[in-house]
C-alpha cells in the first residue's frame, strides 16, 4: 500500500490519488506534530500542507520497503523547523517560540506553565524528541525511525531533553517503552 502510494507510474492524477491515499491517514498525526512544535494552528496547517507538497515532490526519494509514516513525519518536522527559522518575519517575531508557549493570561496550573516555559526554552531538536515521544505517544523505535537514529540513541536523546526540563519540572527518571 505504502509503496503503491509513492509510485511514479501512471498518469499524474493516478499518482496523486495513490499518493494521497497513502498520506491522508497520516495527516492527523502530522498536524498534531506540527501543532506540538509550533503551537499555532494556522502555522501548523501551513506546515502540514507544505510538507505534503514537499513529500509529493520528493516521493522519488522514498525508499521502497520502508515505512511512510516516519518518512512523512520527518518532512513535517523539517518543515516546522523551516517555519520557525527561515521566514523573514521570524526576525521581527523573535520571541515567537516563547510567546506561543507561554501565555500569561491563561489560567493553567503552575505545573503546566512551568512545563510550557521549559519547553519554550528547549532547543528545537529536544522539543521534537519530546513531542514525538510524549505528545504523539510514539515508541522509541518509531521516534528513532523518524529521527533517523537508533532506538538507544532516541532513548538517550529523550533522557537528555528531559534532563534539560528538570529545572522547570519534576519529570520521570525512568523510561519504559509501552
Amino acid at each position: 500500500m505504502f509503496e503503491t502510494s509513492m509510485s511514479m507510474e501512471g498518469d499524474r492524477s493516478e499518482q496523486e490519488s495513490a499518493f494521497m491515499a497513502g498520506i491522508e491517514p497520516l495527516l492527523p498525526m502530522a498536524y498534531r506534530l506540527a501543532y506540538g512544535l509550533l503551537r499555532r494552528p494556522e502555522e501548523a496547517e501551513d506546515a502540514v500542507q507544505e510538507a505534503t507538497l514537499g513529500a509529493w515532490r520528493h516521493r522519488a526519494a522514498f525508499r521502497a520497503g520502508s515505512e511512510v509514516r516516519p518518512w512523512f513525519l520527518a518532512i513535517v518536522a523539517n518543515q516546522c523547523r523551516q517555519t520557525v527559522r527561515t521566514r523573514w518575519w521570524s526576525v521581527i517575531r523573535i520571541a515567537d517560540p516563547v510567546t506561543s508557549w507561554v501565555d500569561p493570561s491563561d489560567d493553567a496550573s503552575d505545573e503546566l506553565r512551568s512545563l510550557r516555559s521549559g519547553l519554550s526554552k528547549l532547543p528545537p531538536a529536544d522539543r521534537l524528541v519530546l513531542v514525538l515521544r510524549y505528545y504523539l505517544d510514539l515508541s522509541f523505535d518509531d521516534v528513532a525511525a523518524t529521527l533517523h537514529i537508533s532506538a538507544p540513541a532516541a532513548r538517550v536523546r529523550t533522557h537528555r531533553a528531559l534532563a534539560r526540563l528538570r529545572p522547570n519540572l519534576v519529570v520521570p527518571e525512568e523510561f519504559q517503552d509501552e
Binding site: 494521497m20 498536524y31 503551537r39 502540514v48 507544505e50 515532490r57
Partner: protein, 215 residues
C-alpha cells in the same frame, strides 16, 4: 511522577487542536499546483542573472582593455622596453647577418644580389627604446625587407635554388605583411596590439629558407 502521569501533563501543557476538516482537501489541492513552476522560475531567474553577469563581464572587460590602451597612448614615450622592442633587436641583427651569405651564395652562382640595405646592417639601438623608436625600427625593417624581396625577385636563381628562391620570396612577402600590421598598430596608437610573435614567425620561416639556400 511516572511516565504515564508525565505524558498526561505533557498533553495538557501543549493542549489539543483538532485538525481542520479541510486540511486534507487543501493538501490535495496543493498537489495540483504545477510542480515545475517553482524550479523553472528559479532557473529562469538564475539564467537571466547569469546572462546579465556575462554581458556585464564582457562589457567591463572591453572597457578595461580600452582603458589600458588609452593609458598606454596617453603616457607618451615608453621608458621601459616593450616586448616588441625587445624582440626587434635580435630580429633585425639576424636578418642582416643571414642576408649577407645569401647574397654571397647567389653571387657565387652567377646571380648577384645587391648588398643588404644600410638600414638592416646598422646595429640595433641599445634598449630600452621608446614606442616611436620601435615603430621607426619596424618601418626601417619593413623597408629593408621590401628591398630584399625586390632584389630577390629581380635575380634569376640557379636551377638548384629555384624552389628555395621562390619560397623565400613568399616568406619575405609574408614577413613584410606582418611588419605592416605592426606599423599599423603603432599608427593606430595601439602599440599593445603589435604581436612580435607573429612577426617573428614569418621571419623564422624566411630564415629557414635562407638555411635551405645555404645548404
Amino acid at each position: 511522577m511516572n511516565e504515564r502521569q508525565f505524558r498526561a501533563v505533557f498533553h495538557s501543557a501543549i493542549g489539543e487542536a483538532p485538525m481542520p476538516p479541510d486540511l486534507s482537501a487543501r493538501a490535495r489541492l496543493a498537489l495540483g499546483r504545477p510542480i515545475e513552476d517553482h524550479p523553472s522560475r528559479v532557473l529562469q531567474v538564475l539564467a537571466a542573472a547569469a546572462a546579465v553577469l556575462l554581458i556585464a563581464g564582457i562589457v567591463g572587460f572591453n572597457l578595461l582593455s580600452h582603458y589600458y590602451a588609452t593609458i598606454g597612448n596617453r603616457s607618451g614615450p615608453v621608458t621601459h622596453p616593450s616586448p616588441s622592442a625587445r624582440s626587434l633587436s635580435p630580429y633585425q641583427q639576424l636578418v642582416s647577418r643571414d642576408w649577407q651569405p645569401v647574397a654571397v651564395a647567389f653571387a657565387a652562382a652567377g646571380c648577384p644580389l645587391p648588398p643588404p640595405p644600410a638600414g638592416v646592417v646598422n646595429p640595433a639601438p641599445v634598449l630600452p627604446i621608446d614606442t616611436p623608436t620601435c615603430r621607426a625600427q619596424v618601418a626601417a625593417e619593413k623597408q629593408a625587407t621590401e628591398k630584399m624581396a625586390a632584389d630577390l625577385r629581380s635575380a634569376t636563381p640557379p636551377a638548384n635554388l629555384s624552389d628555395a628562391h621562390t619560397q623565400l620570396q613568399i616568406d619575405l612577402d609574408a614577413h613584410i605583411g606582418a611588419l605592416g600590421v605592426a606599423i599599423q598598430a603603432f599608427d593606430n596608437n595601439r602599440p599593445a596590439d603589435y604581436n612580435p610573435n607573429f612577426a617573428n614567425s614569418t621571419y623564422d620561416a624566411a630564415r629557414k629558407d635562407v638555411a635551405v639556400i645555404l645548404r
